[in-house]
Amino acid sequence: MKKNSFKAWLYLLPAILFLGIFMVYPLVDVLIYSLEEGYNSASQTSTGVGLYNFSYVLRDPFFLQALKNTFLLVIITVPLSTVLSLLIAYGLSSIKKLRELFQTVYFLPYVTNTLAVGLVFMILFKKTPYSDGMVNALIHLFGGEGVDFITGPYWAKMFVLCFYTIWVVMPFKILILTSALASVNPNYQKAARVDGASGTKIFFKITLPMISPTLFYLIITGFIGAFKAYSDSVALFGTNLNAAGMNTIVGYVYDMLYGEGGGYPSFASAAALILFLIIFTITCVNLIIRRKKVVF
């Protein structure tokens, strides 16, 4: 028994070492940085220990802007992308012809590089000296007033960001939901048909509860993913996100470390910890709801 346990630790050692060096140590370090006031990265000295970094970050208008952007992004994209994916997955599992073709088409964005997708969105939305972008061309066609989506009003920029995020996260969700729907035994739907339930009722009362574990998994990972959004914003609005007013919390952390006004690991750490607390809370709430709603 003793020998076995020694061997077990030996096998676990590489993983523990790697996780310790690259995960646990940085996490502890972030916590320490966030509590050191007036830390100077050149001299590696600080003036004291306290919560000043947190209060600074929470009063920083750039952070508050990033917080607002991130929350909007989460609240808009997670429900919308999940519902849309569910509809598409349901549609995909209901058709027989061309199903594989559509599955491939819907999965394509997943294997496409984020920045390449960003380029496509530029063509769609960006105003250049030569064109107003395809979407504006369409709006003009129907007699509307063109909008500058990339450098224009806040709602337009937010719309593009949400559009982009939804478009990028959907393939994975569709994939997972299609396989979840396929794994529901068709006998349940048949039984419900014999029981006289309508198509909508079968979907909401039978099929949906059966795939609810998968749905909750997607919602939780969706929340986490959206809270950690950054690259999407960069792909659309460039690296100076604060100037564009489209920064996210992760973007703020990055800027605090390496950005133009950067070099403040303490503020970055404090912001990172705030983000961690937000995600942690939301995930806990999700799990509590899940325990109540998902029955098997």
Partner: protein, 368 residues
């Protein structure tokens, strides 16, 4: 409710798209199921039994033909408009709902004048739950019930709308041997009490024979024989039915008819007046052998199995299509196990002759 099938046919396109021919799952079904009977639809796996059941249920639409309940043609109606209850092979109980919610589910779909209040629904559910004896399980979820209990819930759900026809797809296949015996009695009892016309599908001939009023034997989508279990057993219309019904299976021999006598391995074993000369298959039920030291049928004795009430004599014969010849004799007959061979007389009404090519029955007079 009387169920009439008229030229009912279902053809599916072949799964392999390169093969253009269609698969005929159900071919030209024509029969009438009398009201209030328990019918066993019997056949080997993949013979189209379940498709036939789905056609009656309305989950599949027939390629040709009609389904008639009573005097009403229901061919074009969806399942819920036909007034059928169905129990699926894996029961298909909704796992996220309790037994009560499962049973109530069909009632919640009623519309218009038929609409029930919560109390009425609960009353109906409790009544039907009492019938299948699951009253104390109503608040449990399917995952917390045994296979037998789940099945009762499934039957209760099928019965709660008081269907005109109850359909059961392999109702006993997911149960263990002991529960199977018990449940089939249970199904018989519930059917007697509710008097609902019931059709159940099975590949187990013993199951079908033991509880059905009538059995339908199917092979490759075609009805082979339709009748009371004992009739079909005593008078199988073709070699397939003869071989499919009965445990142990019927013994089939390559035989020949010459001058009104049946020859197996050169010995004249039975007078078969009226049968024409030629090569035939002779099928002999295990209980058709009478041990007789002077009997005309001789086979090499391998061993005997003593069951108490009767004895199974296992012997071999070069012309037998089965691995061994199994004959069941009364245990009062003492078989000499030391002897290398055993001799029998054959009971004429336990011997059936079949054409070598068509496998259809060749009838002969029994001499009386």
């Amino acid at each position: 409710m009387r169920v009439v099938l008229e030229h009912l046919t279902k053809r599916f396109p072949n799964r392999n798209r390169k093969i253009k021919t269609e698969v005929v799952a159900v071919s030209d079904f024509n029969f009438e199921i009398p009201d209030g009977k328990l019918i066993g639809l019997l056949g080997p796996s993949g013979c189209g039994k379940s498709t036939a059941l789905n056609l009656i249920c309305g989950l599949e639409t027939p390629t040709e033909g009609k389904v008639i309940f009573g005097d009403e043609d229901v061919t074009g109606l969806p399942p819920d408009k036909r007034g059928v209850g169905m129990v699926f092979q894996n029961y298909a109980l909704y796992p996220h709902l309790t037994a009560r919610q499962n049973i109530i589910f069909p009632l919640t779909n009623l519309k218009g004048a038929e609409k029930l209040t919560r109390e009425e629904m609960n009353a109906r559910a409790e009544k039907v739950a009492a019938l299948v004896q699951i009253t104390e399980l109503l608040e449990r979820k399917p995952g917390e019930m045994s296979g037998g209990q789940q099945q009762r819930v499934a039957i209760a759900r099928a019965l709660v709308k008081t269907p005109r026809v109850l359909l059961l797809d392999e109702p006993l296949s997911n149960l263990d041997a002991r529960l199977r015996l018990q449940t089939r009695e249970e199904i018989r009892k519930i059917q007697r009490e509710t008097k609902v016309t019931t059709i159940f599908v099975t590949h187990d001939q013993e199951e079908a024979m033991s509880i059905s009023d009538l059995i339908i034997v199917m092979k490759k989508g075609v009805v082979q024989q339709f009748g009371a279990p004992q009739e079909v057993y005593d008078d199988p219309a073709n070699l397939f039915v003869a071989q499919f019904l009965g445990t142990p299976a019927i013994n089939t021999f390559d035989a020949e008819v010459k001058d009104g006598r049946l020859y197996i391995g050169g010995a004249a074993v039975l007078d078969v007046p009226g049968a024409r000369d030629g090569k035939v298959y002779a099928a002999v039920r295990p209980e058709g052998f009478i041990p007789d030291p002077d009997g005309p049928f001789e086979s090499a004795l391998e061993r005997i199995e003593i069951m108490g009430r009767d004895t199974t004599v296992i012997s071999s014969h070069p012309d037998c299509a089965n691995v061994t010849v199994r004959s069941i004799v009364s245990s009062e007959n003492r078989i000499d196990t030391a002897s290398p061979s055993v001799r029998f007389r054959l009971k004429p009404f336990k011997v059936f002759l079949y054409d070598r090519d068509t496998e259809e029955r060749i009838r002969f007079g029994t001499g009386d």
